[in-house]
Structures are given as C-alpha cells and as structure tokens.
Amino acid sequence: MKAAVHLSFSSALQRHVPCPPLAVEAATVREALEGAFAREPRLRGYLLDDQGALRKHMAVFVNGAAIRDRRGLADPVEAGSEIAVIQALSGG
C-alpha cells in the first residue's frame, strides 16, 4: 500500500547532483528512491551501484533506523515515514 513519505539527502550529495527534499508515494524504500530518480535520473548512479544495490559507503535510514535490505531495498515505509539518505563517514 503506497503512502506519502518524505525523502532527504546528504548535503555532500548536493554538490554533485541537485536533490532537494521531496515527498513521494511509496510502499518500500526502493519505490521511494525510484520516485526521486524519476525527477533526477542522474541521482540513481550516485546512490546505487551497477547491480542496483545501495552503494557500499551510503546509508539509508527510515525514521532513524538503518534499513536492513541494502541490496533489494525492500524495507517497508508507511505514511509520514522520514527517509534519510546519508553517506557513511570515511575518506581523507
């Protein structure tokens, strides 16, 4: 059952590709991300790898909890869910 959810993205990502917060209709994390990709197709390659899995050093939280299915992105979302796409801290 799709519901209205909110998506927000790490500020570090804004440097490379525009991705303001947005509201989409989704039942899973993947559906929510697909909603974002529909608006900005370039975003897909920044978040997902060649095989469609969440990139190794990226993280997605739903209402503060890290998602479990990093490959399938099947974690459910519900009305009002806050989905945060952030980067793991690393690099130099």
């Binding site: 490379h16 370039r42 390659g45 920044y46 060649d50 990139r55 050093h57 793991a88 690393s90 690099g91």
Partner: protein, 368 residues
C-alpha cells in the same frame, strides 16, 4: 610540440602551460576537492574526459567540449544489472561486478569518430561510440574463460589499466591487465587471446611463474611508428616485444631497479623508452631517496640515469602507472608523484624543471 599538460590528482584536475614568470605555470582546471583518477584529451576532436572517483557516490565520467572551460557529466561505464557473480575477492568470495575505478581511457582510431575505450576495476573493457553518452561492455573479453583467472595486484580486484589502439589498424587492440597479462584482439574486441609468453612472475610459485594469464604488467605502451613493439613495466621487471606480443623478452640487469609502474616509449624510435624506477615491491620508494628517471636508447641494452633537476636525497616520491607521459613530438616528458611533485623535461629527460612540490597525490598526467 604539446603546450599543455593535464594533471589528474586526488583533489582535482590541473593544467600546466608555458608561463611568463616561470617556465611552466600551474592552474586549477576543475573538480577542485574531487578525486580525479584519470584524464584523456581526444586528439581527434580535442574533447577532454575526466574520470572521477567520488568514493561514497561511485565513479563518474565528465566531458568538456570547450578545452576545459565547462564540463558535463556523461554516462559512467557500468556492468549490466543482473550480471552473474564472477569476480573473486582476496577473501575468496565471488561477487557480482561493480565498477569501482576507471583505470584506462583511450580514444578510438582516427577512422572511428566518437569511439572511446574504457578499462575498469574489476577488469571490464567498455566501448562507447558516442563520446561517452552510453557504454557497452565488451562481452568477448569479459566472458573469456581466461578472465576468471585474473586477480588483484595492488588493488583488491583485477583491472585493465592500459588500452592500445593500433595506429595502422584500429580494430587491433591490446590491453594490459593487473593481474592477468596482456590481451590482444585483432577484430575490434570480438575475439581475444592472452599474449604474455615470456613474461615472468617472480611473485608466483615456480611452476606458475611463466603462466601468461597471471602476469602483472603495471603498464603497457606501444610505439606509434612501429606498433609491433610494446614495452611493459611489469611488477618484477621490464619486458619488451617486437612481434606484437607473440613473445616477450625480459630486459635483464636493469639499473638501478627493475621495479616501477610507469613506462613511456618514443613515438618514432621503438628502442627509446623511459621508466621511473622504485625500490622493490616491498618498499616502493625511489632508490636511495633519489628521484630518478631512466632512459634506454638501445632497446634495453643500456640505461641512462636522468636526474638533473630532480631531488637527490630524502625524496620519497612514487610515480604511478599513468603519471608519466611523453608528448607526441617525443621531446617533452612529464611525471607526477604520490607526494605531489610534478616535473617537466623539454629535452627528453636530460634535465628537469620542478612545476610543483605541493600538489595532491598525482594519478595521471597527459600532454594535450
């Protein structure tokens, strides 16, 4: 003679041109703060390509059609979604391929406008016929049973770092793989064979040392005027072939060291080549703290040590495989290092001018 050098570094792309105040002047050429792993200037249409490695956000490719004034992101080579797991990790797992680094970028032949070749880690060869707007995996190499034998060298996974397009016949391709030898296609990538007979891998058990498919050529280059001559700076030696890879000959008694990553060959003189030696794979430092370039003019029988203008003590600069380049005239050389030094020679290496000692780590240099 080339008048501009592009420098890809850990923290951006730089450009070096002849200056007024000094011989060479450096300026930022884009992507400041971003990891630029490789740069290509296409001699056919003067477009430029910059490969970025954003880490968290993956690798990306950008193109400039106005000599670097502006850049646009183009498609990134990617393995097909759903591709079966066939890449072995050092931990013994087999995983599905995901491009983690653009490690080779070359223009196709003069008769192939728009064609760009790209090599990646893991060992994918990709082809674009529209200047990077879309990419296609070269299946014949990826699906070759020999590809499954490749393994990582310095990187965890194997990769393609050298792509050579024969200037006489652009269907004839040569690629260098760490670790996986040298592979040649006579037909534009439709079929492939490993051509590393004669290479020797000191790091393997003796019974596998001469196995062509496990060799680690760090970099392979081709003489434009005599494309049958290829030079390879290999993990444990320098090798040369004069028959297009059918057989390779080890250059022995190389001084001061046979270890290194980079090699350049003169465009018209197949016996003339340059190297930036380091001390052994265990240390990876300049010999005795001296930065040295070596040059042979007699096909590897003898080497001259070129160090005029280079630091002679307490220098710990290492030059990676794409960080030495010779301009198409064969006169100008440049090399950059992991500690951010950049030197240029206008006399084939006899003397060197310091352009900078404070750059980010240098991954690649390319004369325009």
């Amino acid at each position: 003679m080339s008048d501009e050098l592009l420098v890809a570094t850990r923290k951006g792309l730089f450009s070096v041109k002849p200056g007024r105040a000094s011989a060479w002047e450096l300026e930022s050429a884009g992507f400041l703060g971003s990891n630029v792993s490789l740069v290509l200037r296409d001699p056919r249409d003067q477009s430029r390509y910059a490969a970025l490695n954003h880490g968290h956000f993956g690798v990306k490719l950008h193109r400039s059609d106005d000599a670097g004034s502006s850049w646009q992101e183009v498609a990134t080579p990617a393995f097909p979604q759903g591709e079966p797991a066939s890449v072995r990790t050092p931990a013994g797992e087999t995983i599905a391929p995901v491009v983690s680094l653009i490690w080779a970028l070359e223009a196709g032949g003069a008769d192939q406008p728009g064609r760009i070749w790209c090599g990646t880690i893991p060992g994918g060869l990709f082809k674009s016929d529209n200047r990077g707007e879309s990419w296609e995996l070269v299946r014949a190499l990826w699906d070759h049973p020999g590809r499954l034998e490749w393994f990582g060298g310095g990187a965890d996974l194997p990769g393609i770092h050298s792509i050579l397009v024969d200037p006489r016949d652009s269907r004839k391709l040569t690629v260098g793989v760490s670790c996986g030898g040298v592979w040649i296609s006579p037909d534009g990538g439709a079929s492939w064979a490993c051509r590393a007979n004669g290479m020797r891998a000191a790091y393997m058990p003796p019974e596998r040392a001469m196995d062509p498919g496990i060799q680690d050529p760090h970099r392979v280059v081709q003489c434009r005027a005599q494309p049958e001559t290829l030079w390879a700076q290999h993990h444990n030696g320098i090798f040369r072939t004069d028959n297009g890879g059918e057989s390779w000959r080890e250059i022995t008694e190389v001084q001061p060291s046979a270890f290194g990553f980079a090699v350049a060959v003169h465009p018209r003189e197949p016996d003339t080549a340059w190297f930036v030696p380091g001390v052994s794979d265990e240390h990876r430092l300049p010999p005795d703290g001296r930065v040295i370039v070596t040059r042979t003019r007699d096909g590897g029988r003898s080497f001259q040590l070129l160090d005029r203008g280079l630091p002679s003590r307490h220098a710990y600069d290492l030059t990676f495989r794409h960080a030495l380049d010779l301009d198409p005239s064969g006169e100008r050389l440049a090399f950059g290092t992991t500690t951010g030094s950049l030197w240029i020679s206008t006399d084939q290496g006899d003397s060197w001018e310091t352009v900078s000692e404070h750059l980010p780590p240098v991954y690649a240099v390319r004369w325009c």
